[in-house]
């Protein structure tokens, strides 16, 4: 059995490194810790932290990446959330959006509900599943020296990327984003489309 703790990264340090100098990158974060993580790094209109829709994050990323092909779209989510949307890996691999990257922060636990173990704790290999679905670019990040190459790969925009980073299962202080979903949507649309966003017909 893989032991996460011997090689685990700090999830917020990872987020901070990946999002450094992010340019006009758009970020969708799965519900729970990934949403708190991107908010801890710095809340902004180009972030969509999710409060629900478990299993949706990657597909939100697909719709956004198709709509905005010139921007990098990064989905940051957890292993539990990704496991609930495994089918979307097939859907995305077939569609092959060049500007979409998915980063799973894998702590091998359901962090918001009492730290129950997920399937990845028992060896389910998300990278192998993504590769099997047809992702040509995949990464498994288990050490700090792999974080810079991960960041480069996310920003490269050379075809859909699927990466898993093994992160520490420690619960960090909550840093909550705004809870009003209409606001979160409207601010990202305005950041992308300008004031016209509110007059689209």
């Amino acid at each position: 059995m893989a032991t996460a703790n011997t090689r685990a990264l700090d999830r917020r340090e990872l987020c901070r490194a990946v999002l450094a100098d992010r340019g006009d990158m758009l970020v969708v974060a799965g519900l729970g810790a990934p949403a708190w993580d991107i908010t801890a790094v710095g809340d902004c209109p180009e972030n969509l932290p999710l409060w629900g829709g478990m299993g949706a994050a990657a597909m939100i990323g697909l719709g956004l990446s198709i709509a905005q092909p010139r921007r990098t779209v990064l989905v940051i989510t957890g292993d539990g959330e990704m496991l609930m949307g495994l089918g979307s890996l097939a859907t995305i691999a077939v569609k092959r959006p060049p500007n979409l990257a998915i980063l799973v922060q894998d702590n091998e636990h359901y962090g918001e509900t009492g730290m129950q173990e997920t399937a990845t704790r028992y060896g389910v290999d998300l990278v192998a599943i993504a590769r099997g679905a047809g992702f040509a670019r995949t990464m498994l990040v288990t050490s700090a020296d792999q974080v810079a190459p991960l960041r480069e790969a996310i920003h490269a925009g050379a075809g859909p990327l699927f990466a898993v980073a093994k992160v520490d299962a420690a619960s960090l202080p909550l840093v909550l984003p705004p809870r009003d979903g209409a606001y979160l949507q409207a601010r990202m649309r305005e950041a992308v489309l300008g004031p016209e966003a509110h007059h689209q017909l």
Partner: protein, 183 residues
């Protein structure tokens, strides 16, 4: 018995599938998410042949709800095509459209609704409208071919004008009741 007798495609003479395609064009729909249904087969072919549309075949319908949110975040208008059984797969995901106030038009071909052959289609077919409405979706039915286009038009308008999930249910009767040679 041929497979197409179980899940009926529109007759060649039917004009409503092409009318739906024309509506998608006139409303500027750019992303089409779908799980196939025989009732949508001609519409799907028209969309696939259109280079200005991005057609995404889903593994499960709930992916389409998430995709519509992503599309709208980036300024694209999208639509979800599915069969009534797929509505059941979307239940929790529809909360995204309410929470974020996202336009989410759905065009649903009904099974288990009128002259159904397959018993497995009846439970979800009977619950389709109830389930959608329970999750805050505005639902309108079209049970005659001439009602399909105006109803789909209203569904798309209501979604993008009032920022919410909306659905047209195309009754099984529109596709023709199947008799399996017993008439």
């Amino acid at each position: 018995m041929q497979a197409e007798q179980l899940d009926k495609a529109p007759d060649d003479a039917a004009t409503w599938p092409d009318q739906i395609y024309d509506l998608l064009k006139s409303h500027g729909i750019r992303q089409v998410a779908l799980v196939p249904d025989a009732g949508h087969s001609r519409l799907i072919r028209r969309c696939l042949a259109d280079d200005s549309m991005q057609v995404v075949t889903l593994t499960t319908e709930e992916e389409g709800i998430a995709m519509l949110l992503g599309a709208w975040l980036g300024g694209d208008k999208g639509v979800l095509l599915m069969q009534s059984s797929g509505v059941g797969n979307c239940i929790n995901m529809l909360s995204l459209g309410i929470l974020h106030r996202t336009p989410m038009p759905m065009i649903v071909t009904m099974r288990g609704d009128f002259g159904e052959f397959n018993p497995a289609q009846v439970p979800m077919g009977s619950a389709t409208q109830t389930v959608l409405e329970a999750m805050g979706t505005i639902v309108r039915r079209a049970d005659r071919p001439e009602d399909v286009a105006p109803t789909v038009n209203a569904t798309i308008r209501m979604a993008f004008n009032t920022f919410r999930p909306t659905a047209t249910l195309i009754g099984q009767r529109v596709l023709g009741a199947k008799t399996f040679g017993k008439d």
